[in-house]
């Protein structure tokens, strides 16, 4: 079977050992886990495992550099990135591989994780399958294209024929694709404009959709992502000004179709999913709003 390389960028993450252990236990196919210890050592150290590679940097270089570094040493035909506080369904790897074309990004169904008890947390809300990209012109905090959970699309597409289904965007805490797509089409994660951290799903998601690829949600398997409740300290973070700069750059970049080598314009993506929450009927005539 084809190998999967799981990339876990980590910066002071208390649930990293649990995440690594969980993935190694739940995978059923050939797998390697690459944990990036970005400028810190966990205490205690991660438990050794034949399938675990640790990439430690004396100085933190940020999330995007961590992903790129791990992807550079990854040996898998497939790569999956996940945050250092995630739990997976048994056999997630084989289910994700089964429906992943060369130019796809696949996102497993997302549940909420109670990390302290390492179990799924029931908060009385449905699992998350779909995200939309928000309209920068109607965004209150500035010209920023934010992702949002899209429950309406979920309720209208419950039929099993939608088990593998198009999604406009995703959260970014876990994604799965071929190494070929990551290297040859996305050319890795770009720090230009975005900075080291923000707008990860916008970058790789838009590059994928607009280059002729596809993002799908896969409802046949799942992962659970740390449900924000109690604080567990800060992992990767940036100050508000840096984030705002990255968000604004990205918003303008995509609304003005500045990404080179794309097959479609952003308009194509919005129309494909129309009607999309937060996008007004007259959005095309308002693209230049708030641009300056």
């Amino acid at each position: 079977m084809s190998k999967l390389s799981v990339i876990i960028p980590s910066r002071n993450e208390i649930f990293l050992p649990n995440t690594v252990k969980d993935i190694l236990a739940k995978a059923q196919g050939d797998i390697e886990v690459i944990a990036v210890l970005d400028g810190y050592w966990p205490n205690p150290l991660l438990e050794d495992n034949d399938r675990l590679i640790v990439l430690h940097r004396g100085q933190s270089m940020g999330m995007r550099a961590a992903i790129n570094g791990a992807a550079a040493i990854a040996k898998g035909k497939y790569i999956m990135k996940c945050d250092a506080h995630c739990m997976f369904a048994p056999g997630f790897d084989e289910v994700l591989k089964a429906d992943c074309d060369d130019n796809w990004i696949v996102i497993p169904r997302r549940k909420r994780l109670d990390a302290e008890n390492w179990c799924i947390q029931d908060v009385g809300k449905p699992d998350i399958d779909y995200h939309f990209l928000g309209c920068p012109m109607t965004n209150r905090d500035g010209y920023e294209m934010h992702g949002g959970i899209w429950p309406h699309r979920a309720v209208t597409r419950t039929d099993p024929k939608y088990d593998i289904d198009d999604t406009m965007s995703f959260q970014g805490s876990s994604w799965f694709m071929t190494a070929k797509h990551f290297n040859d089409t996305l050319h890795g994660m770009s720090e230009e404009g975005y900075g080291s951290f923000c707008q990860e799903p916008q970058e790789i998601g838009n590059k994928t959709w607009l280059s002729g690829g596809r993002i799908v949600t896969n409802k046949k398997t799942w992962y659970a992502h740390l449900h924000k409740g109690p604080r567990y300290g800060r992992g990767y973070f940036q100050d508000r000004r840096t984030l705002t700069r990255g968000h604004t750059w990205s918003g303008r970049h995509w609304m003005n179709n500045k990404e080179p080598g794309m097959k479609y314009k952003l308009e194509w993506l919005v129309e494909k999913f129309w009607p999309v929450p937060t996008w007004p009927e007259d959005w095309k005539s308002r693209i230049d709003e708030k641009v300056r």
């Binding site: 050592w41 590679i53 640790v54 004396g58």
Partner: protein, 278 residues
């Protein structure tokens, strides 16, 4: 951004920490040191440094895979591979980078290191600048050339072969030479045969830079083996080296006799040219 990325593959290496500290202290330019802990953790842990990157593999993968992994994340324009028991001359990084054309493999002058005292051993065999490839394609210290007073004055010169414990080149050249080829050579053996043959016989130059030096562990005492030799497939490497008598690599443009002729007369090679490729 670092200019030089130093790659240190390590497997149960007693002098790794000293090697790292030495390289960080002696560098005068911007460097990063990428250490591959191949299936083990040193005790005590390596000391943290902003310029140190560690790749730890739960399972040892061998020397070639280690070098390749490190090269894949290296950010420098130049790569330097170095064994985990070496001491360096001050400013080695800057001096090596200053004279390294895009199709050169450069090695510094080599001394003998007493790793316990961390000092040079006074041994009449050293310094070693030149090595030759013997008729059976092994690297051998070229005593006569190393002692030649005229050659001593030549601070940058061609060398037919090298030990392989330290080599330096542009990262783009590392990829052009398709280093390190684990599928053909196996995990460990004949590292410098692969590097040297590919370089010389596709139009490059292996150079010794005597303006700087390193000292390599002179085996006086036994500290155990680093990279395990079992399963490292020496016959495979030997078969791959042997192929250079005819054609060793798809990018090869020059035949082996060209190299022998260039350094002629070379010890162990017969006058009768017709016997060179057999």
């Amino acid at each position: 951004m670092p200019t030089v990325s130093v790659i240190v593959p390590a497997r149960n290496e007693v002098f790794l920490q000293k090697t790292i500290e030495d390289m960080l202290a002696k560098a005068q330019g911007d460097i990063e040191v990428i250490v591959i802990l191949d299936g083990y953790w040193p005790i005590p842990q390596l000391k943290d440094d902003d310029r140190l990157v560690i790749i730890h593999r739960g399972q040892g993968m061998g020397m070639r895979a280690g070098i390749n992994g490190a090269a894949a994340i290296a950010r420098g324009k130049f790569l330097m591979k170095c064994d985990a028991h070496c001491m360096f001359g001050k400013g080695y990084d800057v001096k090596l980078a200053a004279e390294c054309k895009k199709n050169w493999v450069v090695v510094p002058r080599r001394y003998a290191l007493d790793p316990e005292k961390w000092e040079l051993i006074d041994n009449p065999k050293y310094p070693i600048d030149y090595m030759y490839l013997s008729k059976d394609l092994h690297g051998v210290v070229w005593g006569e050339k190393n002692k030649d007073p005229k050659l001593k004055k030549k601070l940058l010169d061609e060398t037919m072969s090298n030990q392989g414990s330290v080599w330096f080149m542009q990262k783009s050249y590392f990829h052009e030479l398709e280093l390190m080829d684990e599928a053909t050579y196996g995990t460990f053996w004949n590292e410098f045969q692969e590097v040297g043959f590919k370089c010389w016989l596709s139009g490059g130059r292996v150079m010794v830079n005597k303006k700087t030096w390193y000292a390599h562990w002179h085996k006086t005492s036994d500290f155990g083996r680093g990279y395990s030799l079992s399963g490292s497939n020496q016959p495979k490497a030997q078969a791959a080296v042997k192929k250079w008598r005819k054609k060793g690599w798809r990018k090869q443009t020059l035949p082996l006799p060209w190299l022998v002729e260039r350094f002629w007369p070379v010890p162990s090679w017969p006058e009768d040219r017709s016997k060179w490729t057999s």
